[in-house]
């Protein structure tokens, strides 16, 4: 049997994983065990991806245009100088074996993170919808307010909340203990 190549699992220290950190405005990658580092995990939807250059990243990455902008302009303020894990940056997407090997580490990565930043995007719950449901009392009230607002304001509009349509984002939320929801404003 071929031994697992990457990431490495240590029963005491956890998984050895590639992380990222902003240094002088640029992303630097390094390896560390999940239990020995305080880091933020990023949960997001991939969208319409292609290989492209991101201003503050050394190599080409497989990302959508909006995500590339997000990484360049908003991510630095969200993570500060804390280490973070984001699949599009810290996993070599050209190496299928590494991509698959990482799946074994994902439960630990999200469970051990100090928090998860979940990035919403896409034509779904718009800013006006958020205002329309602002003071909801419970789920029934939320549902009624959202439907009433949607019936009058969005009956002709797309309503695809991408973050609620992808499988990995469900798992990443379920594995996390603290989630900070942010909106990718450039696409919403």
């Amino acid at each position: 049997m071929t031994p697992l190549a990457h990431p490495v699992v240590n029963t005491i220290k956890g998984h050895l994983v590639s992380f990222a950190r902003f240094e002088n405005g640029r992303i630097k990658l390094f390896e560390a065990y999940t239990s020995e580092l305080e880091y933020i995990a990023i949960s997001h939807v991939w969208g319409d991806i292609k290989w492209r250059v991101i201003p503050n990243v050394d190599r080409e990455r497989k990302v959508s245009e909006s995500k590339a902008n997000f990484i360049a302009t908003r991510l630095p303020a969200l993570v500060g100088d804390t280490a973070f894990w984001m699949d599009t940056l810290t996993v070599d997407q050209r190496n299928q074996a590494e991509v698959i090997a990482t799946v074994q580490a994902i439960p630990t990565i999200f469970r051990e993170a100090i928090r998860t930043i979940a990035i919403r995007e896409g034509p779904g719950i718009y800013g006006c919808c958020s205002n329309a449901v602002k003071d909801f009392k419970d789920y029934s009230d939320f549902f009624e307010k959202l439907c009433n607002h949607g019936d009058s304001a969005h009956w002709q509009h797309k309503f695809d909340e991408a973050y609620l349509q992808r499988l990995w984002t469900l798992q990443e939320c379920v594995l996390s203990h603290t989630i900070e929801f942010v909106v990718d404003g450039l696409s919403k």
Binding site: T108, K134, C147, E180, K188
Partner: protein, 502 residues
């Protein structure tokens, strides 16, 4: 944090008055399911799920105590995850991701070596092997003898997952393939695979349109919760629910779907006189009524594909599969005594009247197949794959007035589909939450599973429903408890004790 936004135009369904609301409901349901999944079964009381939704919608932070790592006693059936996500339309880029995203959290599961080169079916079979080895066996819905035409393995192996599986297109599809967990210890050490009762089955190819519509309605009413989830989760409603009466089957689409156009005078415009016995009316319809022959065997496997197509846009051709789903969703929503949707009930009755005498046979047959899949708990995205391997059949249980839809393996069809045949209904869960679910059709001669039946019990049910349904499912094998008629017990007859009928 909110953002400036530019609402996008809805494409392709400006004329569908029901689609916008269905999409909003789907988003709200998904958000609720996410809140439930985050907080778990006991802790999700109103305030916590509301706070989760508020954090999601308005941008904020939500927290809970750090969950411990999963242990060896847990699997995908632990807790309420399966129940909450069974209708989920969450998608992954690759079929294998449905396993790789959900299973590695359990310490007993390890993705297989060379996984990147393995098809989904092989990874699914490997999942079952690992699950059984570690005491987490589950009841795969599509088994080996259902798909393998000349199955030659043992009786026990016939119940293993087929080496060919339909590739799931969403989380719900994947969870439906698993079925319920099979406990490691069954009381008395009995084989969990057991006889429930005898059923009569028959093909539907020669049924008239009204009979097929009645059969579909019967299945909808029997499996209301399943249909409700199929609509709310978006599986049934994804193309909308306002079909046009002017839809015509494209000939290329027909051939790809296994329907060969016949060259008959009926292909040319003519007047047709039809007697609608249900309402005692004679009507006249004018138009072309092309005839088709279901001849899948003559169609190259490579091109046999029910074309799902992209989301419909104005002017684009609506495929047979899309139209079938739209009509079915319209049908389901139009049962306004169940859905309480009076406007759509009226629209549906109008649509049915307009379609009298002009239902294309491929449309009705595809609707029947899809209805059977919904009722039997198979994801609709599997329709092209299921069409290659299965056919919809009428199923009649003893003591059950209504006839239901099931699916039967093509290789088990026999020569005359109109002939009524006797088969066994077989269960795989004599106890636990899977009782009355994951039912199979078994050939009485070979004792091998060759088809799938609808669940008899929803996940949430009343005592009255439990008693009524179980008496039908285990017809001849049940007895009521004297103290409470809603409590029944049934005799467990393991399949290995049932003699094969010569």
């Amino acid at each position: 944090m909110t953002a400036t936004d530019q609402p996008l135009e809805l494409k392709g369904h400006g004329l569908d008055p029901y689609r916008g609301r269905a999409e909003i409901e789907r988003v709200a349901d998904s958000l609720f399911a996410l809140a439930h999944s985050f907080f778990g079964p006991r802790e999700t009381q109103g305030d916590q799920s509301s706070e989760f939704i508020r954090a999601y919608v308005q941008g904020g932070i939500i927290s809970r105590p750090k969950p411990p790592p999963r242990d060896d006693t847990e699997d995908i059936h632990t807790g309420i995850f399966r129940m909450v996500q069974l209708a989920s339309n969450r998608r992954a880029s690759m079929p294998r991701d449905y396993i790789f995203a959900t299973m590695p959290q359990f310490p007993w599961y390890h993705y297989p070596v060379k996984a990147e080169k393995m098809p989904f079916s092989a990874i699914f079979v490997d999942l079952h092997v690992q699950a059984v080895r570690n005491g987490h066996s589950f009841a795969p819905r599509i088994t080996r003898s259902m798909v393998e035409k000349d199955y030659s393995g043992t009786d026990d192996e016939a119940w293993l997952p087929s080496k060919e599986q339909p590739e799931p297109k969403c989380l719900g599809d994947f969870l439906k393939l698993l079925g319920h967990r099979i406990p490691t210890e069954i009381q008395g050490g009995l084989n969990p695979v057991h006889l429930t009762t005898k059923v009569m089955i028959r093909g539907i190819e020669d049924l008239d349109p009204n009979s097929i519509l009645e059969l579909i309605e019967s299945s909808m009413r029997f499996s209301q919760r399943t249909w409700q989830l199929a609509h709310k989760g978006g599986e049934l409603s994804k193309h909308g629910s306002f079909p046009s009466t002017g839809w015509e089957l494209d000939s290329v689409d027909a051939i790809r779907s296994g329907w060969l156009p016949l060259d008959t005078p009926l292909n040319h415009p003519h007047i047709r006189v039809i007697e609608d016995k249900d309402v005692n009316e004679t009507i006249m319809a004018y138009g072309r009524f092309p005839q088709y022959k279901d001849d899948q065997d003559d169609v190259l496997t490579a091109i046999l594909n029910l074309q799902e197509g992209e989301e419909s846009e104005p002017g684009s051709h609506i495929t047979l599969l899309q139209q079938s789903q739209m009509v079915l969703d319209h049908f389901w929503c139009g049962l306004d005594d169940i859905t309480l949707n009076r406007p759509q009930g009226s629209d549906w009755r109008h649509y049915k009247r307009e379609m009298r005498g002009s239902w294309p046979r491929p449309l009705l047959q595809t609707m029947a197949l899809l209805a059977a899949l919904v009722s039997c708990g198979i994801g609709l995205s599997a329709a092209p794959w299921m069409r290659k391997h299965f056919v919809p059949v009428c199923v009649k249980f003893q003591d059950q007035d209504n006839v239901l839809l099931g699916v039967l393996a093509r290789h088990a069809l026999g020569t005359d589909l109109r002939k009524v045949r006797s088969m066994w209904s077989v269960g795989r869960h004599p106890q636990g939450p899977g009782v009355g679910q994951d039912l199979s059709l078994v050939d009485q001669g070979t004792k091998l599973p060759v088809g799938i039946l609808p669940d008899f019990l929803p996940d949430m049910r009343t005592d009255e429903l439990f008693a009524t349904r179980m008496k039908t499912l285990y017809s001849g094998l049940t007895a009521s408890m004297e103290e409470d008629p809603r409590q029944i017990r049934f005799s467990h007859v393991s399949m290995d004790r049932v003699p094969a009928r010569k």
